[in-house]
Symmetry: C2
Subunit: 212 residues, 2 copies
DNA sequence: ACTTTCACCGAATCAGGATTCGGTGAATCT
DNA sequence: AGATTCACCGAATCCTGATTCGGTGAAAGT
């Protein structure tokens, strides 16, 4: 009778698959995608090398499986806050919410984010397809900025450039911040970034600088 | 008599070495460090594979040679603008100068910057020795920020975090911007970054946001 | 109970690229 | 001129990891 409690056969397989995914997540987060060998994953999961290919056709497919999780996370987080027309990034609370969402996704799925980042960087700089993805990631930001510009708000520069700069900052910062040693509090980081992006170094009360 | 015009033997060797460096610079800039094989370099330079090792002991050493150039460039550019005590990053002109220098170095030496960036990213995320370098790169920024904080200026957050964010932005932006297709004007970029970093999205005249 | 299936095993195999090696000939030295 | 050096050549080697393969035994099917 298949499925009394969960067919032992399938159950064990699923367990193994999960163990492999867990191991991959852990190792990707610690050493990155590039520095993680298949044998590291299987060893950490407590399986033999060959078992890996019982569950994934390649290392890349494993990455895709993790990536799917990430996309779900993004969808869940970002769903419903899509319409630029209804938001104002110069409003601190709204800006913070818009930063908090992607930042949380990046942090919660750090291993995948790292893996993706590494494969992006490993590709051709600039015009690789990978960077098209970044532009898509920053697409929402850019739409917001363009909307602001349309409304007459004076941006620091070309919306695409500004969006790219902000996106690059988030992405790389996530990578550069240690996961193990004193990982700074996420809320703290979001608050800092909010203020930095909103008002810059000068701070909210600043006015144009003049002599003396 | 060695050295009538430049011993032909040495001259040719130097020429080959230069050709290899040129090729490497070019290819690193186009495809990145990781995607450039030794054979690509030698082929581009019009030499045989083995010749490479007549001039460099390894691919990594070649990178170091290029890196040395980069460091010289940094020294040349940044020399003399070292003393945080005498500068004020909330002054737009000073901030712009401080951004312009490293940005110019990154752009002028894009291939090396890219190679370095790639090897940084290829290493362990977060706590790799490579990121210590980034922190050193952003060291000056951080000193400035700390000085500002000492003087009572209210920064958006922890100086190290802010410096890391800014450094990450510069580094990745350089990587993400295409070198070939419509490379945006450097001055333009610097102006934009200056305004973005100084005043953020809100712009110079902004005041704390309140309801509609 | 008997057969079939399939997750698992771990030792080979493969592939991509860096590095090495054994010439070769022109420049340099005597 | 004759001996020696050394940049250059390109095929062969080595290394590192991903991927494949031929068992093996317990679960699932009959």
């Amino acid at each position: 009778m298949p499925q009394e409690r969960a067919a032992t056969r399938k159950a064990k397989a699923a367990e193994t698959r999960a163990a492999l995914l867990d191991a991959a997540r852990r190792l990707f987060g610690e050493r990155g995608y590039l520095n993680t060998k298949i044998t590291d994953i299987t060893a950490t999961a407590g399986r033999a090398t060959g078992s890996f290919y019982e569950h994934f056709t390649s290392k890349e497919e494993l990455l895709k499986a993790l990536l799917a999780e990430l996309e779900d996370a993004v969808d869940a987080r970002v769903a419903g806050m899509e319409h630029p027309r209804e938001h104002d990034l110069t409003n601190r609370d709204q800006l913070r919410d818009h930063l908090a969402a992607p930042w949380a996704v990046l942090r919660d799925n750090r291993p995948v984010a790292i893996a993706v980042f590494q494969s992006m960087v490993a590709d051709d700089p600039g015009s690789g397809r990978a960077w098209r993805d970044l532009r898509e990631q920053t697409h929402t930001i850019r739409e917001h900025l363009e909307y602001l510009a349309e409304r007459g708000h004076r941006l620091p520069g070309d919306p695409e450039l500004v969006a790219a700069a902000i996106g690059a900052m988030l992405l790389t910062l996530n990578y550069a911040l240690p996961s193990t040693a004193d990982p700074p509090d996420n809320d703290q980081v979001v608050e800092t970034l909010t203020d930095l992006i909103l008002h810059g170094l000068a701070g909210p009360t600043a006015r144009p600088q003049d002599e003396g």
